[in-house]
């Protein structure tokens, strides 16, 4: 494995809690090159030949294994588009940890557009964790545009945790999913924007099979002059259950647009959406202040609890 510098190591810690080489299969991408890769008996990682990216094949029946595919960028002005395809075999049960950290100290924009496609076999279970983080005080922007496509076969379960808490200037995140009978998708998105950041998050979930279900929940905080748009659409094409929720705290001069959408094309599609935007309640601050916290400490506790 290539030696990483201290900034790269710090980014890895932020996005993947990695302090050393991870257990199991991994690929670490650093400034557009692979800084280390390992396949295991059940999980094969191969680089694509036509475009940048990886094919990750997980054998049927693989249990309790993990794949780490973090990306770090520290070179200002770097722009890349990366395609990672995951083929998850029938009945497998795996954890996939992705994430991207950009440190940009320079004048030029740095951008990573990661397109992840998941082909999830029958009855397989996938837990997908993705963290995005930016740092560095250069004028160049840190831009992340993740595209996620999920194709779930019968009875499969996908649980996605996606978090972007700090430092990403501009993000357009698009997630689409197609679910067959009995498949289940759970999404938990956590987002905080500050400064002049902009974040747009779009979901289109098609519930195509009988008994399929989706639960897409976003919690976000918009501070300073930042802007967020949450656009979640669930389409019920069969007897199914869909729920989408967007819950936001707005602060300072932040702006938030929540656009929950439901489309039912089957009389037995049960779909529900909830959306709420509001500032931190004064009584919440007062309560924590009576416990001895300052107003600022109270605010931090409320936000970090909300985004937990």
């Amino acid at each position: 494995m290539k030696e990483l510098d201290s900034i790269q190591k710090r980014l890895l810690e932020e996005i993947a809690d990695l302090h050393a080489i991870p257990e199991g299969a991994y690929n670490i991408r650093s400034n557009s090159e692979s800084a280390g890769r390992r396949s295991t008996a059940n999980i094969e990682i191969t680089p694509k030949t036509d475009v940048a990216g990886l094919d990750i094949r997980i054998k049927a029946g693989t249990r309790r294994e993990s794949v780490h595919i973090p990306v770090v960028m520290t070179q200002s002005g770097l722009k890349e588009q990366v395609y990672n395809d995951f083929y998850i075999g029938e009945g497998a049960d795996v954890v996939i940890i992705a994430g991207c950290g950009i440190d940009n100290c320079g004048m030029a924009d740095s951008e990573h557009d990661g397109i992840h496609r998941f082909y999830v076999g029958k009855n397989a279970r996938v837990k997908y964790i993705e963290k995005h983080y930016g740092s560095g005080d250069g004028a160049g922007k840190r831009i992340l545009n993740p595209g996620t496509e999920v194709y779930q076969e019968e009875g499969s379960t996908v649980e996605m945790e996606m978090a972007q808490i700090k430092g990403v200037d501009d993000t357009e995140r698009t997630t689409t999913a197609e679910l067959a009978a009995g498949a289940k998708l759970v999404v938990r998105e956590r987002l905080m924007t500050h400064g002049n950041q902009r974040a747009i998050s779009t979901y289109v979930v098609n519930l195509n099979g009988a008994g399929s279900s989706a639960d897409v929940v976003s919690r976000s905080v918009a501070r300073d002059n930042s802007y967020q748009r949450f656009d979640a659409k669930i389409i019920g094409n069969a007897p199914c259950n869909g729920h989408t929720e967007c819950d936001s705290i707005i602060m300072d001069n932040g702006r938030i647009l929540a656009v929950p959408g439901l489309e039912a094309n089957d009389v037995d599609a049960a779909l529900l959406h909830e959306a709420a935007i509001g500032k931190i309640a004064g009584e919440q601050l007062t309560k924590l202040m009576t416990l001895g916290l300052t107003e600022q400490e109270a605010e931090e506790q409320i936000i970090s609890g909300f985004l937990k």
Partner: protein, 242 residues
């Protein structure tokens, strides 16, 4: 010891000043449980909020253990040892019962320690410790968590604003036991409860009757309580709590 001297509090109401608290002087000595009662709208909750610093008096001074705290913020008063249980506790999305107890204690609590506080308010700790303090908690559960946060603080002066409001009769029995327990371990701290429940008045060392923003009566329980029974200032639990 808490000393209120000539406290008045006015609010503007339709362009006119209205006096909510009028020239109240009151001492809450250490080692005493004082219950403040009186009719609704008499200024009881306002008095409690003035003590915590949530409201600032129009005139008068408040001193805690000899120090003038009249101009101190809520945070500074909390750090000097005043604890406050709200009549209508607020909910938090994301913060768990354990988070709140840790913040109250001002230190890391292990689950066993946190459980002690919850057990003291009659909650089965294992079921609650990781629950979010959100809309999934009932009014009674929330109220007990609120009281547990004051217990966890271990303050020199603990103020409870109508702790019985919004809880069921069964919880109310437990609540009396909680306060009896606190009374037993009071040592050099003091407790002030805003309540018109007869059973809470019954465990008081002293009773203060606040009506129309003024102290109407004040004295040891045995002197004051008999005159209150049957009035709005001392309601039997079965009439009020059901």
């Amino acid at each position: 010891m808490l000393e209120l001297k000539h406290i008045s509090f006015d609010v503007e109401d339709g362009g006119q000043d209205r006096e909510i608290i009028r020239d109240v002087s009151l001492t809450i000595p250490d080692g005493r449980l004082v219950v403040v009662t009186g009719p609704n709208g008499g200024g009881k909750s306002t008095l409690a909020r003035l003590i915590m610093g949530i409201e600032k008096p129009t005139s008068g001074t408040i001193a805690l253990n000899g120090e003038d705290i009249t101009n101190l913020s809520i945070t500074e008063r909390a750090r000097r040892g005043i604890g406050f249980a709200f009549q209508q506790p607020v909910r938090f999305k994301g913060l768990t019962v354990l988070d709140l107890l840790r913040l109250a204690a001002g230190r890391e609590l292990n689950p066993a320690e946190a459980c002690e506080y919850l057990a003291a308010v009659g909650l089965c700790a294992r079921d609650y410790i990781n629950r979010e303090v959100n809309a999934s908690l009932s009014g009674g559960e929330l109220k007990r968590v609120e009281i547990a946060t004051v217990l966890a603080r271990g303050t020199a002066l603990s103020v409870f604003d109508e702790p019985e409001a919004g809880i069921d009769l069964w919880s109310f029995q437990n609540l009396i036991e909680v306060f009896e327990g606190m009374r037993k371990n009071i040592s050099d701290s003091a407790i002030m409860i805003i309540s018109h429940q007869e059973r809470i008045l019954n465990i008081a060392d002293e009773i203060v009757v606040l009506a129309d923003g003024q102290v109407e009566k004040q004295g040891p329980k045995d002197e004051i309580l008999p005159g209150l029974i049957g009035t709005a200032a001392a309601v039997a639990a079965c009439r009020k709590a059901i």
